[in-house]
C-alpha cells in the first residue's frame, strides 16, 4: 500500500540551515548535509530544502550545496526558493535535486508551470501554494503570506494541476508557526479538487496533528520544520504513532 510521507523542511540561508536545532549528536547543527543525513537515518521519506538567501550573488552557492546533498542522501529531495526560470530549474536538477518547488514565479507567470513540466516532466515540479484565510475565503498569497493575491486557492490549484504540476505543497499561512495543527478543511478541499498528491504544511505541533491531516485533511504527505528540528517530535516515534492509528507509513 502507498504510504503517507513525512517530510522535514530545512530553511537554507547562504548555504547554512537557518534555524538552530538541539540535535546534540550533530557536529555542526548548521550544516544542511549533516542534518539531512540525520533525517534520512531517522526515516524521513523525503526532504525539502527552502533557500531563503537574499542576494543573487550568494544564491550561487546553492548549486554546490545541492550537489553535496545529492552525493550524501539516498531519498528524494526537493529544492525551492527563488526559482524563476527554466535555467534555474536546470541547474538544480543537474546538481542532483529530484524536484523543484516553485511559488511566486508561477503566480506571476502561470505559463512557467507548463514550460517546466514540458521540459523536465511533471514529476519534478512541486507547486508551492501559500494560502491565507481572509474574509471567509482561502486566498493565495506570496512573499511568505505578506502579499495576498486575487486568486482563490481552489481555483488556483485546479489550474496549476491542469498546467502540469506534479504535486501541490499547500502551506496554510494562517496556521504556519502556530503549532495548533494543520488547516484541515482547506487541505481536504484541495486534496479532493485535484488528482495529484497534496503535501500539507503549516501548523504541525503534535503527533495527533499529523494523524488529523492524513485522515481528516486527506493529505498524501505532511511537511514540518521546527517540531523536527527541535526534537519535539522524533520521526520514528511519529511513524509508530501513525501506524497505530492504521495510517500506512514506511517503517
Amino acid at each position: 500500500m502507498l504510504t503517507k510521507r513525512i517530510i522535514p523542511c530545512l530553511d537554507i540561508k547562504d548555504g547554512r540551515t537557518v534555524k538552530g536545532t538541539n540535535f546534540i549528536q550533530l557536529r555542526d547543527a548548521g550544516d544542511p548535509v549533516e542534518l539531512a543525513m540525520r533525517y534520512c537515518d531517522e526515516g524521513a521519506d523525503e526532504l525539502v530544502f527552502l533557500d531563503i538567501t537574499a542576494t543573487i550573488e550568494k544564491r550561487k552557492t546553492l548549486a554546490s550545496l545541492v550537489h553535496s546533498i545529492a552525493t550524501h542522501i539516498n531519498i528524494p529531495f526537493t529544492v525551492g526558493g527563488g526559482i524563476y526560470s527554466l535555467e534555474d530549474v536546470s541547474i538544480l536538477l543537474e546538481n542532483g535535486a529530484d524536484k523543484v518547488s516553485v511559488n511566486t514565479a508561477a503566480v506571476k507567470r502561470p505559463a512557467l508551470i507548463s514550460e517546466i513540466a514540458g521540459q523536465f516532466g511533471s514529476q519534478c515540479l512541486v507547486l508551492a501554494v501559500d494560502t491565507n484565510y481572509i474574509n471567509e475565503e482561502w486566498m493565495v498569497s506570496t512573499h511568505g503570506g505578506r502579499e495576498i493575491t486575487a486568486l482563490k486557492t481552489l481555483e488556483w490549484v485546479k489550474l496549476v494541476a491542469e498546467l502540469g504540476a506534479g504535486e501541490i505543497l499547500l502551506t496554510s499561512m494562517t496556521s504556519d508557526g502556530t503549532k495548533a495543527g494543520f488547516s484541515l478543511e482547506i487541505t481536504r478541499q484541495v486534496a479532493n479538487a485535484i488528482n495529484i498528491p497534496v503535501i500539507a504544511s503549516g501548523g504541525a505541533g503534535t503527533m495527533k496533528d499529523f494523524a488529523d491531516v492524513f485522515i481528516q485533511g486527506e493529505a498524501d504527505a505532511a511537511l514540518a520544520a521546527s517540531v523536527f528540528h527541535f526534537s519535539e517530535i522524533a520521526i520514528p516515534d511519529l511513524k509508530k504513532y501513525l501506524a497505530k492509528q492504521n495510517i500506512p507509513v514506511r517503517q
Binding site: 500500500m1 502507498l2 504510504t3 503517507k4 510521507r5 534520512c40 521519506d45 545529492a70 552525493t71 550524501h72 539516498n74 531519498i75 528524494p76 536538477l93 543537474e94 546538481n95 542532483g96 529530484d98 523536465f120 516532466g121 511533471s122 514529476q123 519534478c124 506534479g166 504535486e167 488528482n195 495529484i196 498528491p197 498524501d220 504527505a221 514506511r250
Partner: protein, 195 residues
Amino acid sequence: MSLVIIKYNAGNIRSVLFALERIGIYAEVTDDADKIISADRVIFPGVGEASTAMAYLRERNLDKLIRDLKQPVLGICLGMQLLCHHSEENNVDCLGVFENRVKKFADPSFKVPQVGWNTISQLKGPLFENIRENEYAYFVHSYYAELNADTIARTEYGSNFSAAISKNNFYGVQFHPEKSAGAGEQILKNFLSLS
C-alpha cells in the same frame, strides 16, 4: 568492472550516477554503441514520455542495440517500461524484450501519478538478495507493466502490477532504487554482482 548508463533524451540520469557514487561505483554516461556493447553492466534509466524516448532510440539505432545486449541490463522506471512490448503512453511499440504491456493507472479513486513509498512483495531471484519481503521502495509513475511470468516483484496501487521483471540477462524495476534508501542501494549492489 565497467558500467555504463545509456544516455538518451530522458531525465533523472544524474540521480543514478549520484547513487552509484554513494556506493563507490564509477559509471560512464554514454550513447556510444561500442562502449555500451563492451560494458560489463548496462543501466537504462529514465523519467519521461515513452513515445518521444522510443523515437529518439530508433533514430540512433539504439533500439536494436539494447535488445541485443548480452550482459546484465537494468531498466529503471521509464527504462523498464521501454523494455516492454507496448505502452499505452501515446500508444507506442517499445523494445519488446518483455511481453508485458504498459498501461495507464485507470482507477479514479487513486491519484496519478503514484508518488511515494510503496511495498514490493513476492520477491524472486538474485536482484532481491538480502531484501526483506514487503520492503519499501520509492515510486513516481503514471503507467505500469502488467503482471506476467517474468514478474519478480509486485506492488499494489489500485491493482497489482510488476514492480520488477526479469528475463535472461534483462532486469527492470518500476521503482527508483537510486532513491529508495538503503534497500535501493542493496538492489543496485545486487545488480552489479549478478553472475
